[in-house]
């Protein structure tokens, strides 16, 4: 038989997965590091890469004397928090996209596209406007504690509604999912619009900020609020990889293969809601990261979630850091909302995906 001839390709099966993960992770980590240096050096005050590296090294080694200058101040108190926040959110959105695509067994799912982000933004809007109404000035100090929680609940509710509508007898209909997502997004958008009527100027600015998405409000406080939400998700997500792989064969098949399907789905939905909620609360609605990143990675490294999920975190961080760099520099000294940029790149990409669709999308 052909067993002998085929043995090498089977032997490569396990080795090649590890190799793809190692090569991919190393490559993306290098790109992210380079991008970080460029990004930390760019802005109203240009700082040379060597100085950026010097400041960051001094900071990392706790060398206080080297941190006295203006460059150090700009880098450490303005640009590093923004870089960290952008990377965290990019990673969160890309991983959420990959999770949702595995959950819905469809490469077109994306938290922005199917209304999860809009739901989170609506809840965040409610938290701001009604929080002010109910708690008065006390709440003005609170929002950043309440916001991620509100956004999380909004994201969770949207994901659950979407799943309940699109999935019947363990099968998810893509058409229904996308249409339900459009309706959910429009509904949340309309309610957010209504909120504008009852808000004051400051609240109105916040609402606009959420619907467009921006990293301009980045601060160490935001990083500190968002990290404990996003980091655990990023660390836990690889444990779902094996189950998500099996789930791609079908819900019944995954059960037959020994996967606790209900628990897996609950965990995935919860993680998406936490990650998207935290992202939206701190930077508003940033679309298309969740669809572009996993798709590129599948083309390069294959669909195995054990490779896909860790690499998605890295490439998501790269994509959003890169987009933020453009947002800050393209029309300097003004700044573009980053959501506009990701949509400008992501939407044509999505259309291209639809154009070259094959059997994969007809499920």
């Amino acid at each position: 038989m052909t067993i002998a001839a085929e043995a090498p390709s089977i032997a490569g099966l396990f080795a090649s997965r590890r190799r793809r993960l190692t090569i991919g992770a190393a490559l993306l980590a290098v790109v992210l590091a380079l991008l970080a240096v460029v990004s930390l050096g760019s802005g109203a005050v240009k700082i040379a890469p060597a100085d950026v590296v010097r400041v960051v090294t001094a900071w990392a080694t706790g060398d206080r004397e080297a941190l006295a200058g203006r460059d150090a101040l700009i880098i450490l108190s303005i640009r590093v928090p923004r870089l960290v926040l952008g990377s965290l959110i990019g990673a969160a959105l890309a991983v959420s996209g990959a999770l949702m695509q595995g959950l819905f067994r469809n490469p077109l799912a994306d938290p922005g596209l199917v209304g999860v982000s809009s739901g989170a933004a609506l809840a965040a809007g409610f938290t701001i406007v009604l929080g002010d109404r109910i708690f008065g000035t006390v709440a003005a100090q609170l929002p950043f504690v309440l916001l991620p929680f509100g956004a999380f609940l909004g994201g969770l509710a949207s994901t659950l509604i979407l799943y309940a509508i699109a999935t019947r007898h363990g099968r998810t209909s893509v058409a229904i999912m996308l249409l339900a997502g459009v309706a959910l997004g429009a509904f949340a958008g309309a309610l957010t619009g209504l909120l504008a009527f009852v808000s004051d100027d400051r609240q109105l600015r916040d609402l606009t900020f959420w619907s467009l998405g921006s990293l301009s409000g980045a601060s160490w406080t935001k990083v500190a609020t968002v990290t404990p939400l996003i980091l655990p998700v990023l660390l836990a997500v690889p444990f779902l990889a094996r189950g998500l792989n099996a789930l791609l064969l079908g819900e019944a098949e995954a059960f037959h293969l020994g996967i606790p399907v209900q628990a897996l789905k609950r965990a995935a939905i919860l993680m998406v809601a936490v990650a998207v909620g935290a992202s939206v609360a701190s930077a508003g609605v940033i679309g298309f990261v969740g669809i572009v990143v996993p798709h590129l990675l599948r083309l390069l490294f294959g669909p195995d979630h054990r490779v896909l999920l860790p690499l998605a975190a890295l490439l998501g961080a790269i994509l959003l850091t890169g987009a933020d760099l453009l947002a800050r520099t393209l029309v300097a000294p003004a700044e573009l909302p980053i959501g506009i940029l990701t949509a400008a790149i992501g939407a044509p990409f999505f259309l291209w995906l639809l154009l070259r669709r094959d059997r994969t999308l007809d499920a």
Binding site: E6, I10, L13, E253, L257, D304
Partner: protein
């Protein structure tokens, strides 16, 4: 031969529908049981009940002495493997990866070389070694079906480290296969049966059923219509009752060969012309 799988008056209700009603059977280790019956007779639903995918609304199912509903999914996965009637895949996994996913959970404790050996064996059993590196989505219907067979085959082999008392469920495994691969797949299943695996397969081809089955179960309108050895079950009267087709039936070397009379008539006419 000891009883592995036991169903006692199982039934399920979907709204006003009752696709399976009061079916009892006992499956021994090493036995091949073939389920036949018209479309919509409840064959797939019966399989779903027996695999634990659907919970019966009446009756009891026991697998290796334990109530099926109380066995956790991870343990069940090493006791039985299931090839469903239809399987689609929305992502471009290779054939080898699809088979590997079949043992990722069950074979977790196995050494890498052992897993590679199982995958190679499964690819050979389904005659898809030459397709190992191809994307599953680009395969033909019959090729995809053989990959699904390889996946269940591998799952059984990997589960063997935990138990050798296993059941293989095949729902219309040969529906898209050419003649030689129909026989090859059923032979692979029969080989597993000789190793002690209890095999339960849904087939539409009565000749194939009679050839490979130790016993045949005839389903009709959700009920067990007959259960017994091929020669006693596949009779002219029963096929007329259940399928509404008149048969020419000739015993050749003890096996019933069934041919719808309609066809036989057409052949005679053509021969005369």
């Amino acid at each position: 031969m000891t009883t592995l799988l036991e169903a006692d008056a199982v039934g399920v209700t979907y709204g006003r529908h009752r696709p399976v009603d009061g079916v009892s059977l006992a499956l021994a280790s090493g036995e091949v049981l073939v389920v036949v019956g018209p479309n919509g007779a409840g064959k797939t639903t019966l399989m779903k009940l027996l695999t634990g995918e659907v919970t019966p609304t009446s009756g009891q199912i026991r697998l290796d002495g334990e109530a099926l509903a109380t066995i956790p999914a991870w343990k069940l996965a090493s006791q039985r493997a299931v090839m469903a009637q239809a399987s689609r895949l929305a992502f471009p996994f290779t054939v080898a990866e699809v088979v590997r996913i079949g043992i990722d959970s069950v074979g977790r404790a196995l050494a890498r070389t052992a897993r590679e050996r199982i995958i190679a064996e499964a690819l050979a059993a389904a005659d898809i070694g030459h397709l190992a590196g191809r994307s599953y989505q680009t395969l033909s219907g019959g090729e995809q079906q053989r990959v699904q067979f390889a996946r269940t085959f591998a799952q059984l082999k990997a589960g063997r480290t935990n138990t050798d008392r296993q059941v293989l469920f095949l729902d219309e495994p040969v529906a898209n296969l050419d003649l030689s691969h129909q026989i090859a797949l059923m032979e692979s299943a029969a080989r597993l049966a000789r190793e002690g695996v209890a095999v339960i397969a849904v087939l539409h081809d009565l000749n194939l059923a009679a050839t490979f089955a130790d016993r045949i179960l005839v389903m009709s309108a959700g009920r067990l219509h007959a259960l017994g050895e091929p020669a006693t079950v596949i009779t002219r009267e029963r096929v007329r009752d259940v399928f509404g087709v008149d048969l020419c039936r000739e015993a050749e070397g003890g096996l019933p060969v069934v041919l719808p009379q309609h066809y036989a008539g057409m052949r005679l006419e053509r021969g005369a012309a």
